[in-house]
Amino acid sequence: MNLLGVQTLFVKEVRRFLRVPGQTLLSPLITTSLYFLVFGWSLGSRIQEVDGVPYARFILPGLIVLGVVTNAYLNSASSLFVMKLQGTVVDLLVSPLSYAEILGAFVAAAVARGMLVGGIMWIVGALFTGFGVAHPVLALLLLVAVAAGFAALGFMTATWAGSFEQVNFLPTFVVTPLTFLGGVFYSASMAPPALRWLTRSNPIYYLVETLRWSVTGRADAPPEAGFAVATVLAAGALLAAYGLLRSGWRLRG
Protein backbone atom coordinates (compact mmCIF):
# COMPACT_ATOMS: atom_id res chain seq x y z
CA MET A 1 0.00 0.00 0.00
CA ASN A 2 1.16 3.54 -0.83
CA LEU A 3 0.57 4.98 2.65
CA LEU A 4 2.50 8.19 2.10
CA GLY A 5 0.56 8.72 -1.13
CA VAL A 6 -2.80 8.35 0.61
CA GLN A 7 -1.70 10.58 3.48
CA THR A 8 -0.46 13.22 1.02
CA LEU A 9 -3.70 13.26 -0.96
CA PHE A 10 -5.73 13.43 2.25
CA VAL A 11 -3.64 16.32 3.63
CA LYS A 12 -3.83 18.13 0.30
CA GLU A 13 -7.62 17.79 0.20
CA VAL A 14 -8.02 18.98 3.79
CA ARG A 15 -5.69 21.93 3.21
CA ARG A 16 -7.69 22.80 0.11
CA PHE A 17 -10.91 23.32 2.02
CA LEU A 18 -9.13 25.03 4.91
CA ARG A 19 -7.65 27.54 2.41
CA VAL A 20 -11.14 28.87 1.74
CA PRO A 21 -12.75 28.72 5.20
CA GLY A 22 -15.30 31.42 4.39
CA GLN A 23 -16.74 29.24 1.65
CA THR A 24 -16.27 25.82 3.19
CA LEU A 25 -16.79 26.32 6.93
CA LEU A 26 -18.23 29.75 7.66
CA SER A 27 -20.90 29.80 4.95
CA PRO A 28 -22.67 26.57 6.00
CA LEU A 29 -22.27 27.59 9.62
CA ILE A 30 -23.99 30.93 9.05
CA THR A 31 -26.75 29.44 6.87
CA THR A 32 -27.65 26.69 9.30
CA SER A 33 -27.27 29.00 12.29
CA LEU A 34 -29.84 31.28 10.65
CA TYR A 35 -32.20 28.33 10.20
CA PHE A 36 -31.64 27.49 13.81
CA LEU A 37 -32.22 31.03 15.03
CA VAL A 38 -35.33 31.63 12.89
CA PHE A 39 -37.03 28.23 13.21
CA GLY A 40 -35.65 27.06 16.51
CA TRP A 41 -35.45 30.13 18.63
CA SER A 42 -38.17 32.51 17.41
CA LEU A 43 -40.67 29.88 16.25
CA GLY A 44 -39.67 27.46 18.98
CA SER A 45 -40.99 29.81 21.65
CA ARG A 46 -44.48 29.22 20.24
CA ILE A 47 -44.18 25.50 19.41
CA GLN A 48 -42.64 24.59 22.77
CA GLU A 49 -42.18 20.81 22.47
CA VAL A 50 -42.36 18.09 19.77
CA ASP A 51 -42.54 14.48 20.97
CA GLY A 52 -41.56 15.76 24.39
CA VAL A 53 -38.40 17.50 23.10
CA PRO A 54 -37.96 21.31 23.12
CA TYR A 55 -38.39 22.54 19.52
CA ALA A 56 -34.91 24.10 19.24
CA ARG A 57 -33.37 20.80 20.35
CA PHE A 58 -35.76 18.91 18.07
CA ILE A 59 -34.55 20.61 14.87
CA LEU A 60 -30.81 20.51 15.66
CA PRO A 61 -30.16 16.90 14.44
CA GLY A 62 -31.84 17.52 11.09
CA LEU A 63 -29.80 20.66 10.50
CA ILE A 64 -26.62 18.77 11.37
CA VAL A 65 -27.53 16.01 8.89
CA LEU A 66 -28.09 18.66 6.21
CA GLY A 67 -24.75 20.33 6.99
CA VAL A 68 -22.76 17.09 7.10
CA VAL A 69 -24.32 15.64 3.95
CA THR A 70 -23.98 18.82 1.87
CA ASN A 71 -20.40 19.52 2.89
CA ALA A 72 -19.16 15.96 2.47
CA TYR A 73 -20.77 15.84 -0.96
CA LEU A 74 -19.49 19.23 -2.09
CA ASN A 75 -15.94 18.61 -0.90
CA SER A 76 -15.27 15.59 -3.06
CA ALA A 77 -17.46 16.83 -5.92
CA SER A 78 -15.95 20.30 -6.23
CA SER A 79 -12.39 19.15 -5.63
CA LEU A 80 -12.44 16.40 -8.25
CA PHE A 81 -14.35 18.58 -10.69
CA VAL A 82 -11.80 21.41 -10.36
CA MET A 83 -9.00 18.87 -10.82
CA LYS A 84 -10.68 17.72 -14.03
CA LEU A 85 -11.18 21.29 -15.17
CA GLN A 86 -7.60 22.37 -14.37
CA GLY A 87 -6.10 19.16 -15.71
CA THR A 88 -4.39 18.34 -12.40
CA VAL A 89 -6.26 15.04 -12.20
CA VAL A 90 -3.45 13.83 -14.49
CA ASP A 91 -1.09 14.14 -11.50
CA LEU A 92 -3.09 11.47 -9.69
CA LEU A 93 -3.71 9.24 -12.66
CA VAL A 94 0.01 8.89 -13.47
CA SER A 95 0.89 8.24 -9.83
CA PRO A 96 1.21 4.77 -8.29
CA LEU A 97 -1.89 5.36 -6.13
CA SER A 98 -4.46 2.59 -6.53
CA TYR A 99 -8.12 3.35 -7.22
CA ALA A 100 -9.07 2.43 -3.66
CA GLU A 101 -6.34 4.71 -2.29
CA ILE A 102 -7.46 7.69 -4.40
CA LEU A 103 -11.12 7.17 -3.46
CA GLY A 104 -10.26 6.53 0.19
CA ALA A 105 -8.28 9.76 0.54
CA PHE A 106 -10.98 11.83 -1.20
CA VAL A 107 -13.73 10.33 0.95
CA ALA A 108 -11.73 10.69 4.19
CA ALA A 109 -11.09 14.38 3.51
CA ALA A 110 -14.74 14.96 2.62
CA VAL A 111 -15.83 13.18 5.82
CA ALA A 112 -13.41 15.40 7.75
CA ARG A 113 -15.03 18.53 6.31
CA GLY A 114 -18.55 17.20 6.89
CA MET A 115 -17.76 16.30 10.51
CA LEU A 116 -16.02 19.63 11.10
CA VAL A 117 -19.06 21.54 9.83
CA GLY A 118 -21.42 19.23 11.73
CA GLY A 119 -19.33 19.65 14.89
CA ILE A 120 -19.33 23.44 14.67
CA MET A 121 -23.10 23.42 14.09
CA TRP A 122 -23.63 21.15 17.06
CA ILE A 123 -21.57 23.44 19.32
CA VAL A 124 -23.56 26.51 18.18
CA GLY A 125 -26.87 24.64 18.60
CA ALA A 126 -25.86 23.20 21.94
CA LEU A 127 -25.19 26.70 23.27
CA PHE A 128 -28.95 27.22 22.96
CA THR A 129 -30.23 23.74 23.74
CA GLY A 130 -27.67 22.12 26.03
CA PHE A 131 -24.71 19.86 25.37
CA GLY A 132 -26.25 16.55 26.40
CA VAL A 133 -26.08 13.72 23.84
CA ALA A 134 -27.90 10.47 24.55
CA HIS A 135 -25.77 8.17 22.35
CA PRO A 136 -22.63 10.08 21.27
CA VAL A 137 -20.71 7.14 19.76
CA LEU A 138 -23.69 6.01 17.69
CA ALA A 139 -24.29 9.60 16.57
CA LEU A 140 -20.68 9.83 15.38
CA LEU A 141 -20.82 6.45 13.61
CA LEU A 142 -24.03 7.40 11.85
CA LEU A 143 -22.67 10.74 10.66
CA VAL A 144 -19.37 9.25 9.46
CA ALA A 145 -21.25 6.62 7.44
CA VAL A 146 -23.63 9.20 5.98
CA ALA A 147 -20.76 11.59 5.18
CA ALA A 148 -18.79 8.78 3.49
CA GLY A 149 -21.82 7.82 1.40
CA PHE A 150 -22.43 11.37 0.21
CA ALA A 151 -18.70 11.96 -0.36
CA ALA A 152 -18.75 8.95 -2.71
CA LEU A 153 -21.85 10.34 -4.43
CA GLY A 154 -20.01 13.64 -4.87
CA PHE A 155 -17.02 11.83 -6.33
CA MET A 156 -19.24 10.06 -8.87
CA THR A 157 -21.07 13.26 -9.78
CA ALA A 158 -17.76 15.07 -10.41
CA THR A 159 -16.57 12.19 -12.59
CA TRP A 160 -19.69 12.54 -14.71
CA ALA A 161 -20.18 16.31 -14.58
CA GLY A 162 -19.24 18.63 -17.41
CA SER A 163 -20.19 21.85 -15.61
CA PHE A 164 -20.53 23.32 -12.12
CA GLU A 165 -24.28 23.37 -12.66
CA GLN A 166 -24.25 19.58 -12.88
CA VAL A 167 -22.07 19.37 -9.74
CA ASN A 168 -24.64 21.46 -7.86
CA PHE A 169 -27.62 19.50 -9.16
CA LEU A 170 -27.74 16.89 -6.39
CA PRO A 171 -27.49 19.19 -3.33
CA THR A 172 -29.87 21.77 -4.80
CA PHE A 173 -32.53 19.56 -6.34
CA VAL A 174 -32.27 16.35 -4.33
CA VAL A 175 -30.54 16.64 -0.94
CA THR A 176 -32.01 19.93 0.31
CA PRO A 177 -35.65 19.11 -0.66
CA LEU A 178 -35.35 15.58 0.72
CA THR A 179 -33.87 16.87 3.98
CA PHE A 180 -36.50 19.56 4.41
CA LEU A 181 -39.20 16.97 3.67
CA GLY A 182 -37.39 14.49 5.89
CA GLY A 183 -38.74 15.75 9.18
CA VAL A 184 -36.08 18.32 10.04
CA PHE A 185 -38.66 20.83 11.23
CA TYR A 186 -41.61 18.55 11.99
CA SER A 187 -42.50 15.13 13.31
CA ALA A 188 -43.97 12.78 10.68
CA SER A 189 -46.57 11.51 13.15
CA MET A 190 -47.88 15.09 13.56
CA ALA A 191 -48.00 15.74 9.79
CA PRO A 192 -51.12 15.45 7.56
CA PRO A 193 -51.49 11.93 6.05
CA ALA A 194 -50.10 12.81 2.59
CA LEU A 195 -47.02 14.52 4.02
CA ARG A 196 -46.63 11.74 6.56
CA TRP A 197 -46.57 9.15 3.76
CA LEU A 198 -44.13 11.30 1.73
CA THR A 199 -41.88 11.77 4.73
CA ARG A 200 -41.79 8.09 5.63
CA SER A 201 -40.93 7.20 2.01
CA ASN A 202 -37.88 9.43 2.19
CA PRO A 203 -34.60 7.73 3.21
CA ILE A 204 -33.20 10.98 4.62
CA TYR A 205 -36.05 10.97 7.15
CA TYR A 206 -34.61 7.84 8.76
CA LEU A 207 -31.16 9.42 8.98
CA VAL A 208 -32.62 12.52 10.64
CA GLU A 209 -34.72 10.47 13.04
CA THR A 210 -31.84 8.20 14.02
CA LEU A 211 -29.57 11.17 14.70
CA ARG A 212 -32.43 12.74 16.66
CA TRP A 213 -32.66 9.54 18.72
CA SER A 214 -28.86 9.53 19.20
CA VAL A 215 -28.91 13.15 20.44
CA THR A 216 -32.22 13.39 22.34
CA GLY A 217 -33.00 9.75 23.07
CA ARG A 218 -36.42 10.10 21.37
CA ALA A 219 -37.48 9.64 17.75
CA ASP A 220 -40.47 9.03 15.50
CA ALA A 221 -38.87 6.06 13.70
CA PRO A 222 -36.90 3.03 14.92
CA PRO A 223 -33.18 3.98 15.13
CA GLU A 224 -32.19 0.74 13.41
CA ALA A 225 -33.82 2.02 10.22
CA GLY A 226 -31.45 5.01 10.07
CA PHE A 227 -28.40 2.84 10.65
CA ALA A 228 -29.58 0.47 7.91
CA VAL A 229 -30.09 3.37 5.47
CA ALA A 230 -26.66 4.81 6.35
CA THR A 231 -24.93 1.44 5.95
CA VAL A 232 -26.59 0.67 2.61
CA LEU A 233 -25.94 4.22 1.37
CA ALA A 234 -22.27 4.22 2.39
CA ALA A 235 -21.52 0.71 1.12
CA GLY A 236 -23.47 1.16 -2.10
CA ALA A 237 -22.06 4.57 -2.96
CA LEU A 238 -18.47 3.60 -2.11
CA LEU A 239 -18.67 0.43 -4.20
CA ALA A 240 -20.28 2.27 -7.10
CA ALA A 241 -17.67 5.08 -6.94
CA TYR A 242 -14.86 2.50 -6.84
CA GLY A 243 -16.32 0.71 -9.85
CA LEU A 244 -16.69 3.97 -11.75
CA LEU A 245 -13.12 5.05 -11.00
CA ARG A 246 -11.82 1.63 -11.95
CA SER A 247 -13.71 1.72 -15.25
CA GLY A 248 -11.79 4.87 -16.19
CA TRP A 249 -14.98 6.49 -17.48
CA ARG A 250 -14.38 10.18 -18.23
CA LEU A 251 -11.03 10.08 -16.45
CA ARG A 252 -8.75 7.65 -18.27
CA GLY A 253 -8.75 7.42 -22.04
Binding site: L9, K12, V90, P96, G253
Partner: protein, 310 residues
Protein backbone atom coordinates in the same frame (compact mmCIF):
# COMPACT_ATOMS: atom_id res chain seq x y z
CA UNK B 1 23.18 -5.98 -22.62
CA UNK B 2 20.14 -4.84 -20.62
CA UNK B 3 16.75 -4.88 -22.39
CA UNK B 4 14.94 -1.76 -23.48
CA UNK B 5 13.64 0.59 -20.80
CA UNK B 6 10.32 0.96 -22.59
CA UNK B 7 8.91 -1.70 -24.89
CA UNK B 8 5.70 -1.63 -26.89
CA UNK B 9 4.50 -4.65 -28.81
CA UNK B 10 1.47 -4.53 -31.07
CA UNK B 11 -0.03 -1.64 -29.12
CA UNK B 12 -3.27 -0.32 -30.60
CA UNK B 13 -5.72 2.24 -29.35
CA UNK B 14 -9.14 2.70 -30.85
CA UNK B 15 -11.75 5.31 -29.97
CA UNK B 16 -14.93 3.93 -31.51
CA UNK B 17 -14.19 3.71 -35.22
CA UNK B 18 -11.06 5.88 -35.02
CA UNK B 19 -7.69 4.17 -34.69
CA UNK B 20 -5.30 6.43 -32.79
CA UNK B 21 -2.52 3.81 -32.62
CA UNK B 22 -2.18 0.87 -34.94
CA UNK B 23 -0.09 -2.12 -33.80
CA UNK B 24 2.87 -0.08 -32.65
CA UNK B 25 6.18 -1.79 -31.86
CA UNK B 26 8.80 0.42 -30.26
CA UNK B 27 11.82 -0.02 -27.99
CA UNK B 28 13.40 2.83 -26.06
CA UNK B 29 16.93 2.14 -24.88
CA UNK B 30 18.51 2.96 -21.53
CA UNK B 31 19.91 6.46 -21.31
CA UNK B 32 18.92 7.67 -24.76
CA UNK B 33 16.86 10.63 -25.87
CA UNK B 34 14.26 9.45 -28.35
CA UNK B 35 12.33 12.09 -30.29
CA UNK B 36 8.86 11.06 -31.31
CA UNK B 37 7.96 13.12 -34.34
CA UNK B 38 4.71 13.35 -36.19
CA UNK B 39 2.04 15.77 -37.31
CA UNK B 40 -0.93 16.75 -35.12
CA UNK B 41 -3.13 13.77 -34.37
CA UNK B 42 -0.43 11.27 -35.37
CA UNK B 43 -0.72 9.37 -32.06
CA UNK B 44 2.33 10.72 -30.19
CA UNK B 45 0.46 11.77 -27.06
CA UNK B 46 -1.66 8.60 -27.07
CA UNK B 47 1.49 6.50 -27.21
CA UNK B 48 3.21 8.12 -24.25
CA UNK B 49 -0.07 8.31 -22.33
CA UNK B 50 -0.39 4.53 -22.57
CA UNK B 51 3.07 4.03 -21.06
CA UNK B 52 2.43 6.63 -18.34
CA UNK B 53 -0.92 5.05 -17.40
CA UNK B 54 -3.21 7.85 -18.56
CA UNK B 55 -4.72 5.86 -21.41
CA UNK B 56 -5.49 2.16 -21.68
CA UNK B 57 -4.40 0.33 -24.80
CA UNK B 58 -7.12 -1.49 -26.77
CA UNK B 59 -4.62 -4.24 -27.70
CA UNK B 60 -0.96 -5.13 -27.31
CA UNK B 61 1.49 -4.85 -24.44
CA UNK B 62 3.46 -1.95 -23.04
CA UNK B 63 6.19 -2.44 -20.46
CA UNK B 64 8.68 -0.33 -18.53
CA UNK B 65 11.88 -1.98 -17.30
CA UNK B 66 10.36 -5.33 -18.23
CA UNK B 67 7.18 -4.86 -16.15
CA UNK B 68 3.71 -4.54 -17.64
CA UNK B 69 2.24 -1.02 -17.28
CA UNK B 70 -1.19 -2.37 -16.30
CA UNK B 71 -0.38 -5.41 -14.12
CA UNK B 72 2.64 -3.78 -12.41
CA UNK B 73 1.38 -0.20 -12.51
CA UNK B 74 2.84 0.73 -9.11
CA UNK B 75 6.33 -0.24 -10.26
CA UNK B 76 6.12 1.23 -13.76
CA UNK B 77 4.57 4.53 -12.68
CA UNK B 78 7.33 5.03 -10.11
CA UNK B 79 9.79 4.61 -12.98
CA UNK B 80 8.04 7.08 -15.27
CA UNK B 81 7.71 10.87 -15.17
CA UNK B 82 5.29 12.61 -17.50
CA UNK B 83 5.27 16.24 -18.54
CA UNK B 84 1.85 16.58 -20.16
CA UNK B 85 1.20 18.78 -23.15
CA UNK B 86 -1.53 20.81 -21.46
CA UNK B 87 -0.36 23.18 -18.74
CA UNK B 88 -2.09 22.46 -15.44
CA UNK B 89 -1.85 24.01 -12.00
CA UNK B 90 -3.68 23.84 -8.70
CA UNK B 91 -4.75 27.37 -7.77
CA UNK B 92 -4.92 26.53 -4.07
CA UNK B 93 -1.21 25.85 -3.57
CA UNK B 94 2.28 27.29 -3.89
CA UNK B 95 5.09 25.99 -6.09
CA UNK B 96 6.78 24.26 -3.16
CA UNK B 97 3.57 22.67 -1.88
CA UNK B 98 2.78 21.43 -5.38
CA UNK B 99 6.15 19.70 -5.65
CA UNK B 100 5.83 18.17 -2.16
CA UNK B 101 2.35 16.83 -2.94
CA UNK B 102 3.44 15.35 -6.26
CA UNK B 103 6.38 13.58 -4.59
CA UNK B 104 4.05 12.30 -1.87
CA UNK B 105 1.69 10.70 -4.41
CA UNK B 106 4.69 8.67 -5.55
CA UNK B 107 5.46 7.63 -1.98
CA UNK B 108 8.54 9.87 -1.84
CA UNK B 109 9.41 12.47 0.79
CA UNK B 110 10.95 15.36 -1.14
CA UNK B 111 14.23 16.22 0.57
CA UNK B 112 15.42 19.81 0.92
CA UNK B 113 18.42 19.21 -1.39
CA UNK B 114 16.35 17.62 -4.12
CA UNK B 115 13.75 20.38 -3.88
CA UNK B 116 16.47 23.02 -4.12
CA UNK B 117 18.03 21.30 -7.12
CA UNK B 118 14.74 21.17 -9.01
CA UNK B 119 13.82 24.76 -8.17
CA UNK B 120 17.24 26.00 -9.27
CA UNK B 121 17.37 23.94 -12.45
CA UNK B 122 13.98 25.24 -13.50
CA UNK B 123 14.61 28.80 -12.25
CA UNK B 124 11.70 28.70 -9.84
CA UNK B 125 13.60 29.36 -6.60
CA UNK B 126 12.30 32.92 -6.28
CA UNK B 127 8.74 31.71 -6.85
CA UNK B 128 8.88 28.81 -4.42
CA UNK B 129 6.28 30.35 -2.09
CA UNK B 130 4.18 31.94 -4.85
CA UNK B 131 0.72 30.59 -5.60
CA UNK B 132 0.85 28.63 -8.85
CA UNK B 133 -1.97 30.79 -10.20
CA UNK B 134 0.38 33.79 -10.22
CA UNK B 135 3.05 32.11 -12.38
CA UNK B 136 3.62 33.08 -16.00
CA UNK B 137 2.89 30.53 -18.73
CA UNK B 138 6.57 29.61 -19.03
CA UNK B 139 6.90 29.17 -15.26
CA UNK B 140 3.83 26.93 -15.14
CA UNK B 141 5.38 24.78 -17.85
CA UNK B 142 8.64 24.57 -15.90
CA UNK B 143 6.69 23.58 -12.82
CA UNK B 144 5.19 20.71 -14.83
CA UNK B 145 8.72 19.50 -15.55
CA UNK B 146 9.59 19.81 -11.86
CA UNK B 147 6.52 17.75 -10.91
CA UNK B 148 7.55 15.03 -13.34
CA UNK B 149 11.02 14.87 -11.80
CA UNK B 150 10.28 14.86 -8.06
CA UNK B 151 10.36 11.07 -7.77
CA UNK B 152 13.56 10.76 -9.86
CA UNK B 153 12.03 8.71 -12.68
CA UNK B 154 14.15 6.39 -14.82
CA UNK B 155 12.20 7.46 -17.90
CA UNK B 156 10.96 10.97 -18.54
CA UNK B 157 8.24 11.62 -21.13
CA UNK B 158 8.17 15.18 -22.37
CA UNK B 159 5.07 15.94 -24.41
CA UNK B 160 5.81 19.18 -26.28
CA UNK B 161 7.83 20.53 -23.33
CA UNK B 162 8.88 23.85 -24.81
CA UNK B 163 5.68 24.94 -26.54
CA UNK B 164 5.23 28.62 -25.74
CA UNK B 165 8.60 28.88 -23.98
CA UNK B 166 10.98 31.65 -25.02
CA UNK B 167 14.26 30.94 -26.79
CA UNK B 168 16.52 31.53 -23.78
CA UNK B 169 14.52 29.23 -21.54
CA UNK B 170 14.27 26.64 -24.28
CA UNK B 171 18.06 26.50 -24.44
CA UNK B 172 18.21 26.10 -20.64
CA UNK B 173 15.67 23.31 -20.69
CA UNK B 174 17.59 21.55 -23.42
CA UNK B 175 20.74 21.81 -21.32
CA UNK B 176 18.84 20.37 -18.34
CA UNK B 177 17.49 17.48 -20.43
CA UNK B 178 21.05 16.71 -21.55
CA UNK B 179 22.17 16.74 -17.91
CA UNK B 180 19.38 14.30 -17.03
CA UNK B 181 20.46 12.03 -19.85
CA UNK B 182 24.07 12.26 -18.68
CA UNK B 183 22.86 11.00 -15.28
CA UNK B 184 21.25 8.00 -16.93
CA UNK B 185 17.65 9.18 -17.32
CA UNK B 186 16.00 7.96 -20.48
CA UNK B 187 14.03 10.70 -22.23
CA UNK B 188 11.21 10.37 -24.73
CA UNK B 189 10.35 13.67 -26.32
CA UNK B 190 7.47 14.62 -28.56
CA UNK B 191 7.89 17.93 -30.24
CA UNK B 192 6.68 20.07 -33.07
CA UNK B 193 10.02 21.86 -33.10
CA UNK B 194 12.19 19.71 -35.33
CA UNK B 195 15.07 21.92 -34.28
CA UNK B 196 14.49 20.61 -30.76
CA UNK B 197 14.67 16.99 -31.87
CA UNK B 198 17.74 17.74 -33.94
CA UNK B 199 19.47 19.41 -31.00
CA UNK B 200 18.61 16.76 -28.40
CA UNK B 201 17.73 13.38 -29.85
CA UNK B 202 19.94 10.34 -30.18
CA UNK B 203 17.24 8.52 -32.12
CA UNK B 204 14.13 9.61 -33.98
CA UNK B 205 10.84 7.78 -34.35
CA UNK B 206 8.43 9.11 -36.96
CA UNK B 207 4.76 8.39 -36.37
CA UNK B 208 1.82 9.21 -38.60
CA UNK B 209 -1.83 8.14 -38.45
CA UNK B 210 -1.05 5.84 -35.54
CA UNK B 211 1.73 3.92 -37.24
CA UNK B 212 5.46 4.09 -36.64
CA UNK B 213 7.01 4.80 -40.01
CA UNK B 214 10.64 4.79 -39.01
CA UNK B 215 12.94 4.49 -35.99
CA UNK B 216 16.55 5.34 -36.56
CA UNK B 217 19.60 7.05 -35.06
CA UNK B 218 19.35 10.75 -35.82
CA UNK B 219 22.84 11.06 -37.30
CA UNK B 220 22.44 7.93 -39.38
CA UNK B 221 19.05 9.11 -40.58
CA UNK B 222 20.45 12.44 -41.69
CA UNK B 223 23.37 10.65 -43.28
CA UNK B 224 21.16 8.17 -45.09
CA UNK B 225 18.20 10.30 -46.05
CA UNK B 226 19.64 13.77 -45.99
CA UNK B 227 21.44 14.82 -49.14
CA UNK B 228 23.54 17.95 -49.65
CA UNK B 229 23.13 20.93 -51.93
CA UNK B 230 26.02 22.89 -53.44
CA UNK B 231 25.33 26.54 -54.31
CA UNK B 232 27.72 28.33 -56.65
CA UNK B 233 27.22 32.09 -56.73
CA UNK B 234 28.45 33.69 -59.96
CA UNK B 235 29.98 37.15 -60.28
CA UNK B 236 28.00 37.67 -63.50
CA UNK B 237 24.75 35.98 -64.48
CA UNK B 238 24.68 33.39 -67.26
CA UNK B 239 21.85 32.55 -69.68
CA UNK B 240 22.20 28.76 -69.76
CA UNK B 241 24.06 25.94 -68.06
CA UNK B 242 26.93 24.10 -69.70
CA UNK B 243 25.94 20.57 -70.81
CA UNK B 244 28.24 18.83 -68.31
CA UNK B 245 26.53 20.55 -65.36
CA UNK B 246 23.06 19.95 -66.82
CA UNK B 247 23.91 16.26 -67.04
CA UNK B 248 24.63 16.30 -63.27
CA UNK B 249 21.14 17.75 -62.56
CA UNK B 250 22.29 21.33 -61.85
CA UNK B 251 19.75 24.16 -61.83
CA UNK B 252 20.07 27.83 -62.58
CA UNK B 253 18.77 30.03 -59.77
CA UNK B 254 18.53 33.76 -58.94
CA UNK B 255 17.98 34.78 -62.56
CA UNK B 256 21.15 33.04 -63.69
CA UNK B 257 23.26 34.42 -60.84
CA UNK B 258 23.60 31.09 -59.02
CA UNK B 259 23.79 27.37 -59.72
CA UNK B 260 22.44 24.67 -57.37
CA UNK B 261 23.61 21.06 -57.56
CA UNK B 262 22.20 18.30 -55.31
CA UNK B 263 24.27 15.37 -54.12
CA UNK B 264 22.56 12.19 -52.89
CA UNK B 265 23.33 10.86 -49.36
CA UNK B 266 26.93 9.76 -49.37
CA UNK B 267 27.56 11.39 -52.76
CA UNK B 268 30.23 14.02 -53.47
CA UNK B 269 30.42 17.26 -55.42
CA UNK B 270 33.69 16.29 -57.15
CA UNK B 271 32.19 15.85 -60.66
CA UNK B 272 30.19 19.10 -60.35
CA UNK B 273 33.25 21.08 -59.25
CA UNK B 274 35.28 19.56 -62.11
CA UNK B 275 32.57 20.48 -64.64
CA UNK B 276 32.46 23.98 -63.17
CA UNK B 277 36.23 24.43 -63.57
CA UNK B 278 36.05 22.98 -67.10
CA UNK B 279 33.34 25.47 -68.10
CA UNK B 280 35.38 28.40 -66.73
CA UNK B 281 32.36 30.14 -65.22
CA UNK B 282 32.92 33.34 -63.14
CA UNK B 283 32.63 31.85 -59.60
CA UNK B 284 32.10 34.33 -56.75
CA UNK B 285 31.36 32.01 -53.84
CA UNK B 286 30.67 28.34 -53.07
CA UNK B 287 28.64 26.97 -50.15
CA UNK B 288 27.10 23.63 -49.22
CA UNK B 289 23.91 23.04 -47.22
CA UNK B 290 23.27 19.74 -45.48
CA UNK B 291 19.65 18.57 -45.25
CA UNK B 292 18.11 19.11 -41.83
CA UNK B 293 15.80 16.85 -39.88
CA UNK B 294 12.89 18.95 -41.07
CA UNK B 295 13.63 18.08 -44.71
CA UNK B 296 13.96 14.38 -43.83
CA UNK B 297 10.73 14.46 -41.82
CA UNK B 298 8.80 16.10 -44.65
CA UNK B 299 10.26 13.65 -47.13
CA UNK B 300 9.30 10.63 -44.98
CA UNK B 301 5.76 11.85 -44.37
CA UNK B 302 5.44 12.87 -48.04
CA UNK B 303 6.55 9.40 -49.12
CA UNK B 304 4.06 7.77 -46.80
CA UNK B 305 1.27 10.01 -48.01
CA UNK B 306 2.26 9.15 -51.58
CA UNK B 307 2.03 5.42 -50.83
CA UNK B 308 -1.39 5.92 -49.23
CA UNK B 309 -2.58 7.81 -52.29
CA UNK B 310 -1.59 5.02 -54.67
Amino acid sequence: MPGPVVRLRGVSKRYGGFTALDRVDLDVDQGEILALLGPNGAGKTTLISIVAGLVRASAGEASVLGRDVVRDYRFTRRAVGLVPQEVNFDPFFSVEETLHFQAGYFGVRLGADRLEEILQALELTEKRHANTRSLSGGMKRRLLIGKALVHEPRVLFLDEPTAGVDVRLRQQLWAYVRRLRARGTTVVLTTHYLEEAEALADRVAVIDRGRILLVEGKDRLLERQGGKTLRISLTAPIASLPGALLALGARLEDGGGAIDVDAPPGGSFGPALAALAEAGLPVGDVETRRARLEDVFVSILGGDAGKEAQ
